[in-house]
Amino acid sequence: MSNLFFTYIPGTSLIHRLDPRTKIISVMIASMIIFKLASFAEMALIGAVFLILSLVSSIPFKVSMAAVKPMIVFLVIIFLMQLFLTEGTALFSLSGFSATREGLHIGLLLTVKFVYLLLFASLLTATTAPSMLTAGIERMLRPLPLKKAGISSFDLATMMSLSIHFFPLLYEHLWHLKDAQMSRGLDPGRSPFKTVYSLSVPMMRTAFRSAEEVSFAMESRCYQGICRTSLFDPRMQRRDFAALSAFVVVMWVILFFA
């Protein structure tokens, strides 16, 4: 796994300084637009928007690519499924399945859409500190009637930041465990069932134990999931409203005029 995968890259660009909510809302708008688009011309314009934002935020392109790379297998599958399973004018055929011109068109479009989603999301995580991101999400969730479901927006935000925090920890555990079982002769290539079993059972235990330990640690530091404050106190400023309006206008123009 590349370490750049959806990582925060500290910086001082305008985009870095925007309120997390501005960026989250923008990404949500962008995603909706991306899925509405139907022509390659529109796609190219969205690409241009991404490039400009990327330049303004001075996030190296390889950071964004790192978000796409691990998904390539998935993307290829999507593309091939569209290519072969869409009905239309046949281009060529392969062991009974025929690729169609329409399939090629839809497949390409869909793949590009997914790539764009990943790229915009990576721009969000690259320019927003994880804690800011959770603070932003927490603020956005606050007006929702979550209380009725028995949770608070604080709970949700803390859960999010905990899972971001625990993912690498569990990954490290898994790596460690794999070494231990392989030292006892486990051969993942030859016995996949044994591999899954001998890794998943201890992993579950470790995950549960870590969860228990961390909940003790949180409780003893007065965590009750109510009425928290935050070291980071995001405030929407004039530049946020300006940036958000500009973004909405650009997207609207692309959607209706391109």
Binding site: A129, E213, F216, E219, S220, R221, Y223, Q224, R228
Partner: protein
């Protein structure tokens, strides 16, 4: 500060892990609780800030009974706790966020949180690391951050649950020095360990086994019962053990000596 009366604790489906424990901890005291793995020492201290509740008996912190839900916040603000494994007690993604966590929970305004966090970072010489992920630091530094995260809430009592057991000797010395320093500033300290040498300099040493307190007194007093200590799975510090053997074979006059310098002196006198 903490009053524990005939405390029993039983984990669901398990045997009695605390067996009528009575213990009073005074304000400003430095108490060390030692015992082998599974002796009940960690279970005991988890009662001190209501992470666990008595099966029977009572635990009172500054007069507040831990069994009452309404007292929870006051109790946890009074008694802070640092745990053995630094990795699973970090909640924040960076050092400063983690240290801020407790303050955020008690509803401290953001500017105040910022100020207090920066102060404690400065005090514990961690300022350079404030933007780091705690996991990228050494074991000793990680425990320092965990301590800072509790200390920043200014608890009247701090409980350290085997926080030195995974550290190298140098970091252990540093952490112990920090704990002593915290105690000197007036904070009550309860330190759990399985190394008896960490009790040197404490006010009181308690040895536990099978859920009971088996020895209690000043470290000097407790160390004069090496056979009881051994019977309960503990070991005298190496220097003390050597001095005991030297005394037994008549080479030195003093029954037991803890510090290296003192033993050197004692030997110079008698050889």
């Amino acid at each position: 500060m903490i009053e524990i009366t005939t405390l029993n604790h039983r984990y669901p489906g398990g045997k009695l892990s605390l067996d009528s424990v009575d213990l009073h901890i005074e304000k400003g005291e430095f108490v060390v609780i030692a015992g082998r793995n599974g002796s009940g020492k960690s279970t005991l201290v988890r009662h001190m800030n209501a992470l666990l509740l008595p099966s029977s008996g009572s635990v009172k912190v500054k007069g507040y009974c831990t069994a009452k839900n309404a007292n929870l916040r006051e109790i946890r603000r009074t008694v802070g706790m640092v745990f053995q494994n630094p990795d699973s007690q970090f909640v924040g993604m960076t050092v400063e966020e983690d240290i801020a966590f407790g303050l955020e929970n008690t509803g401290t305004p953001p500017e105040r949180v910022r100020q207090l966090v920066d102060e404690i970072l400065e005090l514990m010489e961690l300022s350079d690391y404030k933007k780091y992920t705690p996991r990228s630091l050494s074991g000793g530094q990680r425990q320092m951050i965990a301590i800072a995260g509790v200390l920043v809430m200014e608890p009247e009592c701090m409980v350290f649950d085997e926080i030195t057991s995974m550290l190298d000797p140098t970091s252990r010395k540093e952490i112990l020095a920090t704990i002593h320093h915290i105690n000197k500033k007036g904070t009550t300290v309860v330190h759990v360990t399985h190394m008896l040498e960490e009790a040197v300099g404490a006010d009181r040493l308690i040895v536990m086994d099978s859920g009971k307190i088996v020895l209690e007194g000043s470290p000097d007093d407790v160390f004069t019962h090496p056979d009881i200590i051994q019977k309960h799975g503990m070991e005298l510090p190496p220097v003390a053990e050597l001095s005991r053997r030297l005394y037994d074979s008549g080479i030195i006059k003093k029954k037991i000596v803890f510090s290296r310098d003192e033993l050197v002196e004692e030997l110079c006198r008698s050889m």
